[in-house]
Symmetry: C2
Subunit: 311 residues, 2 copies
Amino acid sequence: MTARAFLGMDVGGTTTAAGLVTATGRVVIARRRATRGPGDGDAVPRILALAAEVAGLARPRGYRVAGIGAGVPGIVDATGVIGGEAHNVPELGGVPLARLLTRALGVPAVVDNDVNALALGEWMWGAGRGARSLVLLALGTGVGGGIVLDGRLYRGAAGFGGELGHVPVKLDGRACVCGARGCLKAYVAGPDLAAEGSRRLGRPVDARELFRLAADGDATAAAVVDEALEALAAGLTIIVNGLNPERLLLAGGIARALAPRAAELRARLARRAYAGALATTRLRFLRLDKRTTVRGGAALARHAAIRRTRA
Amino acid sequence: MTARAFLGMDVGGTTTAAGLVTATGRVVIARRRATRGPGDGDAVPRILALAAEVAGLARPRGYRVAGIGAGVPGIVDATGVIGGEAHNVPELGGVPLARLLTRALGVPAVVDNDVNALALGEWMWGAGRGARSLVLLALGTGVGGGIVLDGRLYRGAAGFGGELGHVPVKLDGRACVCGARGCLKAYVAGPDLAAEGSRRLGRPVDARELFRLAADGDATAAAVVDEALEALAAGLTIIVNGLNPERLLLAGGIARALAPRAAELRARLARRAYAGALATTRLRFLRLDKRTTVRGGAALARHAAIRRTRA
């Protein structure tokens, strides 16, 4: 007698996590591997191999894999093909990963943007449980968002729904890698903080060092971090006033670095957002680990399985 | 033998429209009255009287009123009570208009934000028909938005969902009446355009004259209008990248005034938004009249009737 489990994956620029998750969200197994090997461009076979490896662990533990879900760093179209915007893992652009996973393992697979997966996982089993509407904003190497409304992932017309890193918060502001100006990402993503900090300090720093310098009282570093807080407050205002979700979750390394200043962030947000909207949108900082990201992929798989059953 | 019709209302700061709309969106009757009489504070009895007048015309024309829907200029909570933010008609703040209409006319009534009503009406019977996702942005005396997703009006936790006038597009920009800085409204709403134009021109102008001056080549007026176009492009980028709706509809007097420069607006938007998102979000300028606004209210009523039947 085997129980049903979902194989969840989180494909990152550096590492890929995969695990088995039960229908109640318990992570039974979680593994992590480098996304690429010593050579370049071999991410796809490595992802498939990791999926097969974890799937192979299911039966000995009394589970059968009912579906596979993978979050990937990019925009995914309705047919499960990853768009050319997957900057962190360029070789995934144009790859029909869902089809490849299904073919390799013989179970239905679904692929979506990694932050969409996280948002759905938190809604299904985590900090967003029970919410009718939820927005998750992930601040790390990039900035992305996931929107869950009425129990469904909101993807928009072509999968861009929730791309909240590239909303302008300062229309004449910093140039962004996307080609536009003043995007939220240009103020709060790790590489952007590092670049701005390095420029102003006159020597190369990474985001971690920038935060450390700011905490130690360096006025130049503190100014860059202050600008990040203010841009984030503006970005959150867009979400609070424009969508007024029941839950607003902040995740990722940069969110964690800003968490000690949560009270100040809330004060800045309160100066911008409607009091009535802010009072009803609960803001929370999330801590992500291998288990939560694996759960995101599994949530995609379970969500798809439920929808198949209903259809 | 009588056919079913919905009584749709649009309560504005100056005039209120009411009409009978069939289940297929045909406007059978439409009336318009001043929202207030010679005295102040009598909007509520006048709204109720107009509703009764139009309802009284139904039977002689072979219709029975199956429900009432009213769009009002403000945020409406889940129980149908209008919030204190109804700046244009302050005496509506705290008024349980839906309950009053139901009591007066003996049929179910639903009240929501006026732009939400418009968005639903366009989705049901107008320029948004068939779209799985739609955002309507109304630019006039105020700036508001309505979001329809998967055939349902998205209201958010407390009804603020779609308040897209108060999303910051320039975090250190112009002060907004809401108390925040750099809101889209501060750049594109009629009174804000008039105030900025008057300040820079050194004499009082209204928005209409500002647009005329800009078209006639006045450099100062043209600069204010250019800033409005750029802020609107940024605001639309928030919608296109963040939500990627299938349809994006622009309505209201200021949208109409900007319509001759639609090509330029699209070019500015193309410099900001993701190409893949923009290619799948269809942007359209709408022309509103008494019939379309009445249809919005009726759409609220029909939507509620359908949901009652399903529940």
